[in-house]
Symmetry: C2
Subunit: 344 residues, 2 copies
């Protein structure tokens, strides 16, 4: 059993910790040789669906990097596959949704499903992770937030301007509402099943919501993110993460979460002040900073820790996922710097 006083879990509750806990988004990923070896043999989706391998991938960086939390190896789009939209991960261009949702009819054609059955491989991976971690560090489960998932369903992949997504919001608010309600409902079930299987905290990724004006966020997104977070098993910390949202912080806070994850494009102290100190904060080193020298990385870590001011409730992380070309030794240097410089 992981102790409930483990620094990561204590920081989620804004309790004092002996040092600032640290983990990295995509800490299990292509920048690691161990992972690239597995990917030479299996596709990304195959790895997600093999609980033994998913657990191995989840645990490896905990050993290699000395981070304070594990995050389940999975993907935010897995929940879309049982909806019947035709999910595929292409070699270079990222995820593709073949049957895009563009109308009310499209929303109604989405298959209703029971996460517990359709995504059983995820929960099996959670159980295997907990066994493999053996209480070493807590395990974080996760899912995409309603807006980010809706944007993939509507655009069919990544997007520059989110033209179709916003068009649906503005011109077919009934379809938008139906889609967001359906996603919020499925997400709550999915996250709670991860928790039931052993996830000790969950992170909601609203990775692309930073494309919205604050008024649009408040009207078209906040109610559904709030509903998702409100339905999560009480007592389990929720990290509410997004990028490019320096202008949305108060609204993100209003939507919920015990910890708000921010990216590097805002100063951590300014962000925390705007969020309010009654919530934790996660972040916020630029992933590209890991391409600098270890000395410069250490300087940047110190700067962020200074901005956090030793206040309980800071979890150190990057502002987005580790990039594939990142040198592993620099990641290790970053983790060490966080631990050393924050030791109290």
């Amino acid at each position: 059993m992981t102790s409930p006083n483990h620094p990561f879990l204590a920081a989620c509750r804004r309790e004092k910790t002996p040092y600032t806990p640290v983990w990295l988004m995509r800490q299990a990923g292509r920048y690691m040789q161990e992972y690239r070896k597995l990917r030479a043999e299996f596709s990304f989706l195959e790895l997600c669906k093999r609980p033994d391998l998913a657990a191995e991938i989840t645990v490896t960086p905990v050993k290699r990097l000395g981070v304070d939390a594990a995050i389940l190896f999975a993907d935010i789009l897995l929940i879309l596959e049982p909806m019947g939209v035709g999910l595929e991960y292409s070699k270079d261009d990222g995820p593709v949704i073949h049957n895009q949702v563009r109308s009310r009819t499209g929303v109604e054609q989405l298959v209703e499903f029971e996460p517990a059955e359709a995504l059983s491989f995820v929960f099996e991976a959670v159980r295997k992770c907990r066994v493999a971690l053996d209480g070493r560090v807590p395990l974080i489960g996760f899912a995409g937030a309603p807006f980010t998932l809706a944007s993939y369903l509507i655009e069919g992949g990544g997007s520059r301007n989110y033209l179709r997504t916003k068009k649906m919001m503005y011109t077919d608010p009934g379809a938008w509402r139906a889609l967001m309600e359906r996603l919020a409902h499925a997400l709550a079930k999915y996250l709670n099943a991860q928790i039931a299987a052993g996830a000790q905290a969950v992170q909601l990724f609203d990775s692309w919501v930073g494309c919205l004006a604050p008024d649009d966020y408040e009207r078209y997104v906040l109610p559904y993110t709030r509903a998702t977070i409100a339905a999560i098993t009480p007592g389990v910390p929720v990290i509410h993460f997004s990028t490019g949202t320096a202008g949305l912080l108060r609204l993100l806070r209003a939507a919920g979460g015990d910890v708000i994850g921010v990216d590097w494009r805002v100063d951590l102290d300014a962000a925390w002040e705007r969020l309010g100190y009654d919530v934790g904060i996660q972040g916020n080193l630029d992933p590209v900073a890991l391409f600098a020298s270890p000395k410069e990385i250490r300087r940047k870590v110190a700067e962020i820790l200074k901005r956090a001011g030793g206040r309980p409730g800071h979890i150190f992380n990057l502002g987005h996922g580790v990039l594939p070309e990142t040198p592993v030794e620099n990641v290790i240097a970053m983790v060490e710097a966080v631990h050393e410089l924050s030791a109290r």
Copy 2:
């Protein structure tokens, strides 16, 4: 002659105006049939280099839309061509730089040039625009800011993570400094030559600087943007524009500009408060909002005007350029809504 009391110029000086002046970035562009017709016959670069056509393209939207300023038809990358880097506009993927700058040697190989000679077609277009506008509205000249131009030179085009740009900043600060100094120097000459030819205000586009952490902006960008702005002919208003910079506002303000252009991802009132009221503000409707109904567009215009609070120094604009698929009638509805709802 345009009156120096024209609403656009008065707003740049934060003087009271009878209504809020409005123009749109890329108001001369692909969403207009007149422009598409010309593009069927000429390449983008050909149009930029034909002062008669560039002037025609500049003036058309002033007549069609009823906006309060014209912006020269040109491109932020034109200044890079005489540096010998091999600039090309590909059909779909945007601009390409063939000889990318990746080192100190690369910086030193950039050709030194006299903007007055190498870019004479730009100044000729400015003169023709002034004649064609016949005092109807002021003419805005423009250029890319040092960071955004450096990112194109280094990455060779657009970029998702600006990995190479930031790597040069972090690991070869001497090369970075040499590049930024050279760009700042050329930009000041270029903008002053536009002003000498007749531009009545200038906008500096730091379109991609929102990818930076505030500390990196302050260290690696601010001094060069400040030098560029400080060297601009006194008395000519400077609009300092960027996107995704809700977390950088105070630093952008410190770099300079009479008016700070902000995008839609921050509330205009929150942005202006952070900038300080001793500077003007330009913005900030989401370009995608122009795909909503005229009624919804009007509601969004009213919301932005309310946030501006009737304070002198607000210039209405989009938060970035008009998108190619935008319905012209919605642009006209937006301009009318700004004029009607802000009439004092």
